[in-house]
Symmetry: C2
Subunit: 669 residues, 2 copies
């Protein structure tokens, strides 16, 4: 069983890598830009859709707002980037918002940021892959309806790749991103020219009428309208996720790290801005009509739309309008979008386990998340992320408009807290800097962060205010749960540390007075003899064999054989009126303790080592129970003397996963 799993693991994951393999050359800007930006750029694959279909609730006319909202999103992004450019200079270690918050606002804030980011990393995967699955369908309509399966498959592939430590090839990650940006820019340019010359075609969905939601009878008028615009804006702000990637990866950059990170950030902002604005504008120009539920939200000259209509994403419809149906350009855009969306998730598959391992090292998450797996990836973190993402994908059936409601809550929590943290940071700086000119610069920096704080906080409020009921509550809940978990785990670890750390008083050389060894005897068999021999070999000050008399006939038999074999160890019989093994033993040990409290008691327990799973059920049960009970007795050491049954040999031959690297230390080059 175990060895089968081990074999399976080897096939999927491959032979382990040596730790040395970890060292890598620092990252040059031209590669850093695409690698760090995949997540930010990929958002134009779904953000525009969400803005438009939210506005669509208020009918056709409302859609006119989409470019404006795109603009608003851009402004926020540029402010955030500007402030990050100075944060990264102040904190070039790669700790990112988590570090900034913990250092300046204390661990609680740090934990909150961490929880928020973890949740959003999961959502990045869920949203990107789900969106990717819809692009796949746009390219291969035959697959319509099986998006959930496609998305799941995508996550699985990414998981295996990351467990194998593959996808660490930098060029492999960079190339598709560059291609994507290139193709989309070309498309936007072409679209712009066509529009200018008045030859711009129209989207497949242009012909449909949009049925406004009964809640919004008069378009965007009144409070309802304002709220809807805000909601559209908040969904659109999904375009802002991924901006935090560079700052949390500064350490991998080539020197001067901070300067390079800053310029990467700038380029990221400009390109992402251009892409988003362009897409928004052209989507409007070609009359892309996307709604949350086409069946009810769209009409074809008054009647229902064709039942087999598949609503393709905005980017797809743009390509369709500009390059034409079935054109190479269209398929290129679709393919590259899928690629870049995969890259975006891939970034999360690095960030999530990295952050988790950071947190585990600081004692906020279980230790298992800290260590690197066979192929140097943080395997457990990778698996955790994958499972969480798949669950989300299944719960929401890879439906982006619903998933998006949970999204960006996390990033904005961390944005806001890190801005606040920076303000604190500058405050401290000011306190220590006499120099006028420097102080002036610091004042400017702080002002920028202040603006950032106001903006990000505002967005956070808008996000929560307009989407809490639409699903954001789930994200908030997730963050809260994670926070509580991490916080209590941390307290536990701290308490244990306090309990266990070696203070001055203990002497590291003190010794228990004497060793009193007990050998537990049931039916007299070879394992018992071995236990006795081992016990005697350790030359205890006192050695007794113990029989618990839970079944008088067996006890007598045992005593007789003991005599017959002439074993040179006194044997004590413990009465057990309630036919129990552990209880009388404990009683006996306690009485020994009472007589000589400073004695160390070592209980030798013969134990079977079995090969087949069901044998475990029919052996050792009592031994296990006894061991568990003895663990609670102070000053008692349990020495289990194993006896390997013949059946265990084969399972040994097959080998447990741990033996493999030894039996063959070579690794795949």
């Amino acid at each position: 069983m175990l060895s089968f799993l081990a074999a399976l693991k080897r096939i999927l994951v491959g032979r382990p890598f040596r730790t040395e393999k970890l060292k890598r050359a620092p990252l040059r800007k031209r590669l850093a830009l695409p690698i760090f930006s995949a997540s930010a750029f990929s958002s134009i694959a779904y953000a525009p859709d969400e803005v438009i279909l939210t506005l669509a609730l208020a009918g056709l006319s409302a859609m006119a707002f989409s470019p404006l909202i795109g603009l608003a999103v851009m402004v926020v992004m540029l402010v955030i980037i500007a402030s990050y450019r100075q944060s990264v200079k102040a904190y070039p270690s790669g700790g990112g918002d988590y570090e900034i918050a913990s250092v300046n606002l204390g661990p609680r804030a740090g934990t909150t940021v961490a929880a928020a980011l973890l949740v959003d990393f999961v959502l990045t995967v869920a949203v990107s892959i789900s969106s990717a699955s819809h692009y796949v369908v746009a390219a291969l309509p035959a697959l319509a309806g099986s998006q959930t399966w496609i998305a799941t498959g995508g996550v699985v592939v990414l998981t295996v790749l990351n467990l194998r430590g593959r996808g660490r090839s930098r060029l492999g990650t960079a190339a598709p991103v560059y291609l994507f940006v290139g193709v989309v820019l070309v498309m936007l340019a072409a679209g712009g020219i066509l529009a200018a010359t008045g030859n711009l075609g129209s989207a497949p969905s242009a012909g449909f009428d949009v049925v406004p939601d009964p809640q919004y009878p008069h378009g965007l008028t009144g409070l309802a309208g304002v709220l809807l615009v805000l909601r559209a804006f908040s969904t659109g702000s999904a375009a802002l996720t991924g901006v935090e990637v560079p700052i949390s990866n500064v350490h991998t950059l080539a020197a001067p790290k901070a300067r390079n990170a800053a310029s990467v950030l700038l380029l990221l902002g400009l390109i992402a801005g251009a892409l988003t604005l362009g897409t928004m504008y052209l989507a409007r120009a070609v009359k892309v009509h996307v709604v949350e539920d086409p069946a009810t939200g769209l009409q074809l000259n008054g009647g229902p739309i064709p039942a087999d209509y598949i609503q393709n994403p905005v980017l797809g419809q743009l390509a369709h309008a500009i390059f034409g149906a079935g054109s190479l350009g269209l398929y290129l855009v679709l393919a590259l979008t899928v690629a870049v969306l995969l890259m975006a998730s891939h970034t999360s598959f690095n960030s999530f386990p990295n952050l988790a391992s950071h947190l585990a090292t600081d004692g906020y998450l279980p230790r298992q998340l800290r260590t690197r797996g066979d192929r140097l990836g943080f395997s457990n973190g990778i698996l955790a992320l994958a499972i969480a993402a798949i669950v989300l994908i299944w719960v929401f059936e890879a439906h982006v408009p619903t998933l998006i409601q949970l999204y960006v809550v996390g990033v904005f929590v961390s944005f806001t807290l890190s801005q606040l943290g920076m303000i604190r940071h500058w405050g401290r700086e000011l306190a220590q800097t006499p120099d006028k000119r420097v102080r002036a610069r610091i004042h400017r920096s702080r002002l920028l962060n202040l603006v950032g704080l106001v903006l990000t906080a505002a967005v956070l409020v808008i996000v929560l205010g307009t989407r809490l009921v639409h699903g954001a509550w789930l994200a908030v809940l997730g963050i809260a749960v994670l926070f509580i978990m991490m916080d209590s785990l941390h307290r536990h670890y701290k308490q244990v540390d306090a309990e266990l750390s070696i203070g001055g008083e203990e002497s590291a050389t003190a010794l228990p007075a004497r060793v009193h060894a007990l050998v537990l005897v049931s039916t007299l068999r070879k394992p018992v003899l071995r236990a006795v021999a081992f016990a005697r070999a350790s030359r205890p000050s006192k050695l007794d064999a113990i029989v618990v008399d839970s079944d008088s006939e067996r006890t007598e038999a045992t005593l007789r054989e003991w005599e017959a074999l002439g074993i040179p160890v006194p044997i004590t019989v413990l009465a057990s009126p309630y036919r129990e093994i552990p209880a009388p033993l404990i009683e006996h040990i306690r009485s020994i303790k009472r007589d000589s409290p400073r004695d160390l008691i070592v209980v030798y327990i013969p134990e079977y080592v079995v090969g087949r799973w069901w044998e475990q059920l029919v052996h050792n049960q009592t031994a296990m129970r006894i061991k568990n009970r003895l663990h609670y007795e102070p000053g008692v050491v349990v020495a289990s003397v194993p006896w390997r049954l013949a059946s265990s040999e084969d399972s040994l031959a097959l080998g447990s996963p741990n033996t493999l690297p030894i039996s063959n230390p070579k690794e795949t080059p």
Copy 2:
């Protein structure tokens, strides 16, 4: 958690009993009869129904056969009883058919009998309780439809009673059986008189016409008819279950055990015969019309029967016809039938665990089934039986006509094999007895068993032939599975025995040359110090501390502190290129073994003892993995040095189940 379960157990099961309580006065005949016969007598609660509704498939006229079939069943019963009367004299130990078969036909036969009996004990509970639930409904029609729940409740109550070691009150068991027999006999007598005087009323269902099954257009004519009669007979033979009870309880009887058992058997046979025949005859006289599915099988003057019609069992309808609707007599019959059916299942709740424990002692079932629980009942056996019965009740929705199809396969397998065994037995006797007169008697006995063999074998063939497709296959499958399980488990235990039993060659006093102790060190904390101290206290010939270098920084830190604390033990660092703990350790141990093969290696592992379940997840994981791996290394003893975390104290205070009897050895009187 654990302590909660412990508390719950105490509430349900009560304080443990001392083993002395087991000794009981031998059983006098007048109590033995009812206690041993409950199962046999109770069958008239359902056997007649099954006979009649099977015949009903061939229409009204066919039902005339029911008394004849009753007669046939009686004949078989008397022969079996006659042969048992001599078996019990030959095997007075209470081993029953299991013993007879194993002694005379070899262990395989014994195992088969055991498997067959276990299956039938389960079915006794399922059938009796299900049937009881229908009597409850007959008394309280409001409960119609919830038979499954009633039956489940019944099983649960019996289980708790038996776990509590209650229901061992002999008078409590005997009284209802006597009352039941008395009341039913009175009813039959009254019925007989009324019939003789022509004043016998008719059953509630007398007015209905029976719709014959299309398979039997011309009543019982032809082969189909013959087969149907045989099938009716085979279902009727359910009346024969329970006949084996006395022989498997001889040992509890007062001396002369064998003689008393024989007379109990005789009385059992006579009474059971009278009850069955009487019921069959009167059921016919009052025109009880029961069918498998009243909705389709019954008609009221050509039209369908009332939708709310509840088909009551034969015994109920008899009481109704003889004592009158709503009469005290009717409710008395119903109540006592329920009582006696419960007693019948109660018998199985003794027989099943007893047999299971027998089998466990002989190594055919897991050891856990051998030992007595807190209240001296074989708790695990009781639970196994209860679960199996409840599963059956739910699968078949407490529907007796379906359950009955699985029934009596088991008993007849064991009847047949035990008859065969007895014939062998007599054969051996003959070989050793010269005395003419004795030989003559033995010849007679053997003849009787021969007749018994022919009869029981015939019935078994009929049962399988007529019911295999109707559900008996499931019983056969169950028996087969149990047989295979027990057989392979036995082979396993035997192999282990051979492996472990102490032969002449080993000396019970040999000792390993030297003890080489290793202390496993991770981060340097109190538990490590304790482990080191304990290791040193056991004065090994050689002592090393071991650090596995899975994380270089931590290793260095550990080494520094080790220096600082001046621990007088050399510390060895094991390289771990693949960031693993167990593998390098094993390698190291193997190399030590290579250098000095006769050394005993003791590995001291510091271990945390935690209180809360989730703490187990965040501690000891590595320790566990290491221990499991080390178990497979020859000549290695694992000594785990426990360190109890503060959190473990409270869970200790609450106490694990084992501590309770000690903390308060008093028991409920």
